[in-house]
């Protein structure tokens, strides 16, 4: 069979924005002087301070990330360790970077549908977290605290279902919410979360 079809996964295109060119910009002198001024300001501020505190010695020293930090994705498990994702494709729909590719299949059991292929191109991901928001099943999370890994080839940055599930744990979220969630939510102090 002699068949070559162009493969297209993304609908994204490059948008070219023209910038006005001025003499100041062409010479770049203004920019250099401004930049030097900022550097010098920080230099003197730091010298004047008792304990300089802008730089840490990464990677020996590391900052503690806040709890809501968004790291690499992971796919959560059901109690029987199968994938929690039901391949509803809400996350690729929400994803502004079009970096999630899902192919669905039948499970053959009561869960009906699951992803046969689940791939995230972490290089293309803009780490917005919309996929996590969109998921109705608590199946995808970004709470690994891991950075994007160093890769030699672009393809290595595409995480598949196995990679994503390796980081996952069992999720205890109840489908459709806990039985009396409507009552309990009224007791939450912050009105934004009601």
């Amino acid at each position: 069979m002699e068949t070559t079809f162009r493969k297209r996964t993304s609908k994204a295109t490059v948008k070219v924005v023209p910038r006005p060119e001025t003499l100041n910009k062409e010479l770049m002198l203004g920019g250099i002087i401004q930049g030097l001024a900022v550097t010098m300001r920080h230099f003197f501020q730091n010298v004047a301070r008792e304990k300089p505190e802008v730089t840490i010695n990464y990677p020996e020293e590391r900052l503690k990330y806040p709890l809501r930090n968004r790291g690499l994705h992971r796919l959560m498990h059901r109690e029987d360790d199968s994938v929690r994702c039901v391949a509803c494709m809400c996350c690729p729909t929400a994803c502004p970077a079009h970096c999630i590719t899902i192919v669905a299949e039948e499970t053959g059991n009561g869960n009906e549908k699951r992803p046969a292929i689940f791939e995230i191109d972490e290089l293309r991901c803009i780490v917005c977290g919309l996929c996590v928001e969109a998921c109705p099943c608590d199946a995808i999370r970004m709470d690994t605290g891991e950075h994007m890994h160093v890769v030699d080839r672009r393809d290595d940055a595409i995480l598949g279902k196995v990679d994503l599930m390796k980081r996952g744990i069992s999720s205890t979220a109840v489908q459709g919410g806990e039985p009396n969630w409507q009552e309990r939510v009224k007791t939450v102090p912050d009105p934004r979360f009601r």
Partner: protein, 538 residues
């Protein structure tokens, strides 16, 4: 004999008021359609303009002044001086209550429901209910995956018992295959024991199902409906030419669904026709080949042109060249081929296509002729080369008799037997432009990659003589191009000036040359739209 006074002509229209606006409609029109003609939309589930109205869902209730109870607008014929209120407090309340009632046992598993994005129930709920369920006990559960037949799976829980699917089988396929069983909240759609839902129009039930209860095995879980783009086209499965929509996403076709055309297919389409999209992407010829070797397109064209020119030098002006028009190709392609042929002085013209399948024909939609453009190819041949076009048997005879030295074939199908194929392989030059590899592609010495019907713009003429527009939905693979472009390129190499930058110009010229097409319109360009809650799709 006493003169009988002429009876007053029976009044054929009625005038009524809907939401204060006066409207005149033909007698017998129901209130729902009259309201739609005013742009007033009333929600409904069980009504379908192509089917009878049993008024079982009560989602279309409206208030009629002077009547004590709300009436189903899909079932109530318009009458003179009727005063209908569709948006009154009472009408809106009853409709909202009906929606809540329909949702009582509905599983609302939209994330895994194939209909999500084109579901009437989902749309109505989001548009004007959006309330939490007031039911606080376990819903009635029914089987989630019932195999109804070779093409369809039923999710009994999602079914809202509108009976549209039953009526499609009864009234379109004329085959009573579906039935209600059990009662009350246990009621389900089912087939008779030991029977299947397997009529040739079964997939129309999936289209009309307003919810995700019936899903096509072919499309199930393949793609979410909201990702699909629609391109209006015409089915290439047979000579009926059912109007359809090609649903595609990211360069792949996912399904074909019927598009309303009261003169051709009304709202329907046959199952075989829907499956024709599969073969579009199978066994494709993606690059040109000369004597079995893959070569750049331009080289293949030059090779063919050189051989033809040499033949014309040695054996008279026609060069014993024959051309084969094809009922699988568009009017424009056939027209251009025959135009080039007459410019070259060719007088051997044949008409090919797929063999007829009388066993597949019925008097509903399906036609025995499996080609979308037989009428068009015939009309063009008659206009451009009156009386010269012959059938495939004559082609076989000419091949075997050695009356031909060169042949230029428009693909994809030419029904030749073994002997004729062997004769074809002995030709000096045989140019075959085809989208698909088949039994001929190894026998010819110049194979040109052509685009398939979903990859080109153009027109087909159906068995009734209607010239219908097809549109490009996806890109052809590799180097493949529309037939007309290949003909133009080869024609230019043969020294014939051809310049048609677009199909519209070609169509305009063809319209003047072929009397059958005089009244045809090329039609406007339609934007490709993303499928979101498309109206008639149930």
């Amino acid at each position: 004999m006493a003169e009988t006074p002429n009876p007053a002509p029976a009044q054929s229209t009625v005038t009524l008021k809907i939401d204060g606006q006066s409207v005149t409609v033909p007698k017998g029109t129901n209130v729902l359609e009259a309201a739609r003609s005013l742009g007033v939309s009333i929600s409904f589930f069980c009504y379908h303009p192509g089917l009878s109205s049993p008024a079982v869902c009560r989602q279309c209730l409206v208030e009629v002044k002077g009547q004590p109870k709300p009436v189903p607008s899909c079932y109530t014929p318009c009458a003179d001086n009727m005063d209908v209120l569709t948006q009154s407090e009472k009408a809106l309340t009853v409709r909202q209550q009906m929606l809540e009632f329909t949702l009582v046992n509905h599983p609302v598993d939209c994330p895994i429901c194939d209909k999500a994005g084109e579901c009437t129930l989902q749309k109505l709920y989001v548009e004007w209910d959006s309330a939490h369920a007031r039911m606080d006990y376990e819903k009635v559960h029914k089987p989630k995956k019932v195999d109804l037949g070779p093409t369809i799976v039923l999710d009994a829980e999602r079914c809202i018992l509108c009976t549209r699917c039953i009526r499609v089988c009864d009234e379109v396929a004329h085959d009573h295959q579906l039935e209600m069983s059990y009662r009350g909240d246990r009621e389900t759609i089912s087939v008779a024991p030991g029977k299947q839902l397997d009529n040739p129009y079964s997939l129309n039930t999936v289209d009309v199902c307003p919810v995700g209860a019936l899903t096509a095995k072919d499309f199930r879980f393949q793609m979410r409906a909201w990702e699909l783009m629609t391109t209006s086209s015409v089915c290439a499965g047979c000579a009926t030419g059912c109007n359809d929509e090609i649903h595609h996403a990211r360069g792949e076709i996912y399904r074909l669904v019927p598009r309303e055309n009261q003169d051709v297919n009304k709202f329907w389409m046959c199952d075989d026709g829907r499956m024709t999209y599969h073969e579009i992407r199978q066994n494709r010829v993606a690059g040109a080949r000369v004597q079995g070797e893959t070569v750049p397109l331009d080289k293949a064209l030059s090779f063919a042109a050189d051989r033809i020119v040499a033949l014309r030098g040695s054996s008279g002006s026609s060069g014993l060249l024959g051309v084969v028009a094809n009922a699988q190709a568009t009017n424009e392609d056939n027209y251009l081929l025959l135009k080039v042929a007459s410019a070259l002085g060719v007088d051997r013209v044949y008409l090919a296509g797929r063999p007829a399948r009388p066993d597949c024909a019925d008097d509903i939609l399906r036609h025995a002729d499996m080609n979308p453009n037989t009428a068009g190819a015939r009309a063009i041949a008659q206009a451009l080369m009156p009386g010269k076009a012959k059938g495939v048997p004559q082609l076989a005879a000419d091949l075997e008799g050695g009356a031909l030295k060169a042949l230029w074939i428009l693909g994809d199908h030419v029904d030749l037997d073994e002997e004729a194929q062997a004769a074809l392989a002995r030709l000096e030059v045989c140019i075959y432009q085809t989208p698909h590899q088949n039994f001929l592609s190894d026998k010819v010495n110049v194979l040109l990659p052509a685009a398939a019907w979903a990859e080109v713009d153009g027109t087909f003429t159906n068995a009734k003589g209607l010239v219908q527009r097809i549109r490009r939905a996806v890109e052809p693979p590799g180097e493949a191009r529309p037939h007309r472009e290949l003909i133009q390129l080869l024609g230019r190499k043969l020294g014939i000036a051809l310049d048609y930058p677009n199909v519209r110009m070609l169509f305009k010229e063809m319209k003047q040359a072929v009397p059958e097409f005089a009244a045809a319109e090329y039609g406007r360009e339609l934007p490709v739209v993303q499928l979101r809650f498309a109206g008639s799709r149930g």
